[in-house]
Amino acid sequence: MRLRTRIALIAGTALVATSPLAADAGFALGDLCATRAAVAGGNARFRETRTVAALKSPLERSGTLVYRRPDHLEMDVEAPRAEHLVIDGGRLTVDGARGRREIALADEPALLASTESLRATLAGDCASLQRFFTATLAGAAGDWTLALVPRDPSLAALVTRVDIAGREAMVRQVTITDANGDVTRMDIEPMASSPR
């Protein structure tokens, strides 16, 4: 048993060492931000799966995303019910079943963590990322993952971490893990991307 573990480890190490991941180890947070900063905006479809401990089954949402540099983010939820969200700077406007509501993101840490992690990544805003999170980038330019852990204790009390995965300039997946164990995963499929 112990021997097999060791063999597996050695084999695994060898595999990692020879993979293109290791060869591209020079891909740093600055590179990701520079790549993203060149993108003026884009449209995408998203599918969100939210696992809530108190619910027997996960909640699902889907719709489209619109991003414009540097801090305009729109989310058009189509199913299960229509809702339109606009993030412009520090303000979130929600148009939904209960009418329009405006929220200052700074007032809502949970919203701030989920929106600022995505917005700052999309904008290539390394300064903001590093202001709110301890950011760790892993992988290569062709397949990277960015782990964001909130710095502020009041933020960390609500959101444990945000993991963002992508390929080159494309953000493919955002996973938010709440402090109470609930996980929200959003898969993003780009529709069109306009270079800067």
């Binding site: 939820v77 520090g90 939904g96 809502e108 840490p109 949970a110 009390a157 609500l158 609930d182």
Partner: protein, 769 residues
């Protein structure tokens, strides 16, 4: 050793010892309630205490401005962190999340006891309705808010409390912190840990804010402004001390210059100060011995009234002519001198009947001080003057008015009557008395303006109108407040008021809390209800174990007390609106937008118990009106005493009346000047008028007894010039109180001098005939 030298040594040593003793043992009291009528209205007592010291007074409002919003928000956050870490401050809040979250645990522990409908939401139907709403929210973007407290608070109490707090806050938020309505200044609020009545600690807190801000600011252009009742008081105390020091220095300089001009001897000038200083010390010592402490206002009034004592040496010195001996000088001025001292001391003693502790103190301080100063001047001045000293100053030998023979009795009457009529005409239509607190505020005007601007910017309510509930203990007060809140809800529905607040929103009475606890289901019942409510829903009933736990904790745990909110923003509000005093407990229910005060007062009266509608401005005005009336009565009594003493001393009621006439007329002119050109007479003006009468009577007595016109002119020139100079300096003060004293005494003294001169012209003319 000469007699003079020995006398100097004895007096010097006694002075030094007295000053050391006074500094060591005399306690200066700042409790304004000493100046309220004894056994006054409980509302008046309450108002007076609120003016001086309350939890609300400890609150400091801070505004950061002068930079863009992002910079201000960052500065606000940094300052909030710095002050929160400082033990000299409690409940620091800049509207940020971090400061909001500090309040959250206390609020959440209270949630099932402060909501009257909490139990009704725990029935199967109630839970089903709440869960349906939660599911709806979870599917939307705001699900993040619901998700946070779903398993321990499915009925949404926390969010409802947060919404209620936000709704009652009138400031806007930008970049995550509070901003003023224009969005140009970041607002913070903090409370000092030290009581409001501790000016040293308040100054220390100000220094702490300054230091923290200096670190936060760095090289940025951010500017700070802050204010608060206690900080304001501490700040104004410094300003008052500075102004008093400046005014006294100027006054002393002016008086010394005049005395030097008159007497041409440093020794004699020094001599003139000795009786007054001794008088102050004796008066303070007597007051401290009798009352245990000396009130700061007493000290100010008392020493002002003792200003008359500076004249006593001059009455002796100006009578000293070449060739005369001290026994002969004393003989020549004995009657006016004794009467001058006696009338002032006895007049001051009339304050003893005022039933206002502070005024009684003023009376004792003045009476003892004047008697001591009079005695010391009488015995010490002749011994202190060098044997070869002579009066050499060039003083006009003839009275300027008395030189004309054409001054008939009729024209003299006209000269005195005409200004009186003119002033009466000018004063017509102006309010005679000023009982408005704002006009008597000893706080510098600029400081008040800053406080007002900050209050407006922060949306902090001006606690001008409220319902005051008083009861034997806190529980009874809270129960009465709950009844009052129900009546106020009706008043709001009837549009008598726009809104109100009550501490029972966060701290219900124990009776109400027990009733709410009794209504909460036990764990088995709640679990069964949850089971039924989650059936046929996506929810898992077993996920709500934290909810069962929290409800059981509320059902069996301790009741809420003010201590439950220690260190939170709610705790700050509770501290300001709920308190205890010697007669029990009280709570205030602040009102906003009172439209129909009469209907409201009638409605409040029906609540029962000691519950009343208070309009703070009206109440303070009534309060000061009461103080002013009693002061006026005391002064009236003092005048009668003075008249009686003069009648006995001069052996003629008519002579007594004539001796008082110039002073009373001078005081009248001065009062009319204040009414016509000022804002009306306040307590401070009345005290000043008493001084005018005291000084004026002395003038008349000495003029009457002067052996020659030359003597009379000399005496009046010296004492009139010193008094006018000292009070002219006081009139330049930036403080309303000192200005009132200065202007009134200056105008009164000059008027009295003029009237004496006119009257003197008559007596001189009569003598020549």
């Amino acid at each position: 050793m000469s007699v003079a030298r020995r006398a100097w040594l004895v007096v010097g040593a006694a002075l030094a010892a007295a000053i050391v003793l006074a500094a060591a043992y005399v306690r200066v009291d700042r409790d304004f309630s000493a100046f309220l009528p004894r056994g006054g209205d409980p509302v008046q007592r309450f108002v007076a205490r609120e003016l001086r010291d309350s939890a609300a007074a400890r609150v400091v409002l801070i505004r950061l401005g002068g930079a863009d919003r992002a910079t201000l928000a960052a500065a606000s956050t940094a300052l909030e962190a710095a002050l929160s870490a400082d033990p000299r401050f409690v409940a620091v809040n800049n509207g940020s999340l971090a400061s909001g979250l500090r309040d959250l645990p206390a609020m959440r522990s209270a949630r099932y006891l402060v909501d009257p409908d909490a139990a009704s939401r725990m029935t199967p139907d109630g839970l089903a309705a709440s869960l349906a709403r939660d599911l709806d929210a979870l599917q939307g973007s705001e699900g993040v808010l619901v998700r946070r407290w779903l398993t321990d608070d499915p009925t949404g109490e926390t969010l409802a409390m947060l919404d209620s707090l936000r709704a009652s806050s009138r400031v806007r938020r930008e970049s995550g912190v509070w901003f003023d309505a224009q969005g140009e200044g970041a607002m913070l609020v903090a409370a000092t840990a030290a009581p409001a009545s501790d000016p040293a600690a308040q100054r220390d807190a100000m220094a702490a804010i300054d230091a923290a801000f200096a670190r936060v600011r760095g090289a940025s252009p951010v500017a700070i402004a802050y204010s608060g009742a206690a900080i304001l008081a501490a700040e104004s105390e410094t300003a008052i001390a500075d102004d008093v020091a400046r005014v006294s220095a100027l006054g002393t300089l002016g008086v010394v210059a005049i005395l030097w001009f008159a007497y041409r001897s440093a020794r004699v000038v020094l001599l003139c100060a000795v009786p007054a200083v001794c008088g102050v010390i004796a008066g303070v010592a007597a007051t401290a011995a009798g009352f245990g402490s000396v009130h700061a206002i007493t000290l100010a009034f008392g020493t002002t009234l003792l200003g008359e004592a500076v004249d006593y040496p001059s009455y002796l010195l100006t009578a000293y002519a070449p060739g005369s001996t001290w026994p002969s000088v004393r003989d020549s001025v004995r009657l006016p001198y004794v009467l001058a001292v006696l009338t002032t001391a006895a007049g001051a003693l009339a304050f003893l009947a005022s039933e206002i502790d502070g005024l009684v103190e003023v009376g004792v301080l003045t009476a003892v001080g004047i008697a001591a100063a009079g005695a010391i001047a009488w015995w010490f001045v002749p011994r202190g003057v060098a044997d070869d000293w002579r009066f050499r100053a060039p003083v006009p030998s003839r009275a300027p008015v008395g030189s004309s023979r054409s001054f008939s009795r009729v024209s003299r009457a006209a000269v005195l009557l005409l200004p009186t009529l003119i002033l009466l005409a000018l004063a017509r239509g102006h309010p005679f008395f000023a009982d408005d607190l704002a006009r008597m505020n000893p706080v510098p005007a600029a400081t008040i303006a800053k406080d007002r601007a900050l209050r407006a910017a922060s949306g902090a309510p001006e606690v001008g109108r409220f319902v005051l509930v008083r009861a034997a203990d806190t529980e009874a007060a809270l129960e009465a407040a709950e009844r009052t809140a129900r009546a106020l809800a009706d008043a709001r529905a009837a549009h008598e008021i726009d809104g109100f607040d009550s501490v029972t929103r966060w701290l219900p009475s124990a009776a109400t809390q027990r009733a709410r606890r009794a209504a909460l289901p036990d764990p088995a019942a709640l679990a069964a209800n949850l089971e039924r409510a989650t059936r046929d829903t996506p929810f898992r009933a077993e996920a709500f174990a934290p909810f069962l736990h929290d409800v059981e904790a509320a059902r069996t745990g301790p009741l809420l007390t003010p201590a439950s909110y220690a260190g939170t923003g709610i705790g700050l509000t509770l501290g300001a609106l709920l308190g205890r005093d010697a007669s029990g407990a009280w709570t205030m229910l602040p009102l906003s937008g009172v439209h129909d005060a009469d209907a409201l007062a009638a409605r409040i009266a029906r609540v029962g118990g000691d519950v009343r509608y208070v309009d703070l401005r009206a109440a303070t005005t009534t309060l000061f009106e009461g103080v002013r009336k009693r002061t006026l009565a005391a002064i009236g009594a003092g005048l009668v005493v003075v008249l009686a003493i003069l009648a006995v001393g001069l052996r003629s009621p008519m002579a007594a009346l004539f001796a008082m006439l110039p002073a009373v007329l001078g005081a009248t002119w001065s009062a009319l000047v204040v009414v016509a050109f000022g804002n009306g007479l306040s307590v401070f003006h009345l005290i000043a008028l008493l001084l005018v009468v005291g000084i004026g009577v002395n003038y008349a007595l000495f003029v009457r007894a002067a052996p020659s016109p030359r003597h009379a002119v000399r005496t009046l020139a010296v004492v009139g010039a010193t008094t006018a100079t000292a009070f002219a300096m006081m009139a330049t003060s930036t403080l309303a109180v000192l200005r009132a004293l200065g202007v009134t005494v200056l105008a009164g003294t000059l008027a009295t001098l003029f009237i004496c001169a006119v009257a003197f012209a008559g007596s001189a003319a009569r003598r020549r005939r």
